[in-house]
């Protein structure tokens, strides 16, 4: 089941990749923007800015409702916050890259989580991310989906839905099972989730090829 799912997802992902075909999107400052036949969220409150440190959870699989299945990808990472003033200061300074790294790492104690979910071709930022042990080497992951619709632009904390999963060992890997609820929009529904979770990835232990 897992292998079949992975193969299907992999082939589906590759079918999306057409390097010679570009998507061109005009982005007005207000309201919804067309994106590949869909509507693109407006510019308003997003998720926290920061330097990615570690991918806590990354998985792909399906969101199921009735006899429909939708491709779903989920990622939660740890970041160190980096605010616009700090970026401006770093770029305006004559600091070496090593000194820039030190400045960034100085905020290591303020680590926070950032996450997002892609359902079919729509990205949903995750907020209010809560991670807890759930027994039997399992982990519970709960989060809300940030609402980026124009009506919610005045409210940074507007919520579009929620996701709740238990991530557990299975056949040498990890799987995630749970529920996704989307309250508004064309994908509004209550879904069951089944995801293959990728191995824990710590960016600071991974070496780059040159």
């Amino acid at each position: 089941m897992g292998l079949a799912s992975l193969l299907f997802i992999g082939l589906s992902g590759m079918s999306l990749a057409e390097p010679d075909d570009n998507q061109n999107i005009d982005v007005p400052c207000q309201g919804m923007c067309p994106h590949d036949g869909e509507m693109m969220p407006p510019q308003n409150a997003g998720f926290p800015m920061g330097v990615p440190v570690e991918v806590l959870f990354s998985g792909h699989g399906f969101a199921l409702v009735g006899n429909e299945s939708h491709l779903l990808r989920l990622k939660v990472e740890t970041i160190m916050p980096l605010d616009p003033d700090q970026i401006k200061g770093l770029l305006a300074s004559n600091k070496s890259l090593e000194e820039i790294r030190d400045d960034i790492l100085a905020r290591e104690g303020e680590k926070t989580n950032r996450g997002s979910m892609i359902l079919d071709s729509s990205i949903y930022p995750l907020i209010n991310i809560a991670i807890s042990a759930s027994g039997d080497n399992s982990t519970a992951l709960k989060a809300d989906l940030a609402d980026l619709s124009p009506l919610s632009a005045v409210n940074d904390t507007a919520i579009l839905g929620s996701i709740s999963m238990i991530i557990s060992p299975s056949d040498g890997g990890m799987i995630g099972k749970g529920e996704l609820r989307i309250d508004q929009g064309p994908l509004a529904a209550r879904y069951s989730l089944l995801l293959d979770m990728e191995p824990h990835r710590n960016g600071q232990k991974k070496m780059m090829r040159r």
Partner: protein, 140 residues
Amino acid sequence: MVLLLLLSSIALGDSGQLFLNIYVDGTPGKALVVGNVDDISGLAFLNTPDKIYEDNGQLYAVCDSLVEKEGDGWKLSFPSSGYYDEYHAVFFVSGGFALEEINCTEGLELLSTAHNGSIVLDVQGFGLTDPAVHFSYAAL
């Protein structure tokens, strides 16, 4: 045929992952690139070794070649070569700018927001060859 080539590249281990955050100051010209990428040779704009600092897999770079003036605004171009089984780039532009146009490789999913006067463009994709992101922005 394309599918076979892609499968071959995966089998040969040529696939990679890219997780980068790109910060552009409101006074365009310089960008801070932070994150990790499996194969740095796919990022041609980082081909000057003294512009890159790598610390335990974490990449730090300051680039002045990503942003160029375009009309009354600015254009950021972020090309990459190679096959990426996972691609996640987040662009931050601070200083009171608004997005005007986005042009990116088919298969990349986009989410744009504004946060405290900064543009945030989250771009994610999977199973992509030579993904590229270009977007223009101008002062509010």
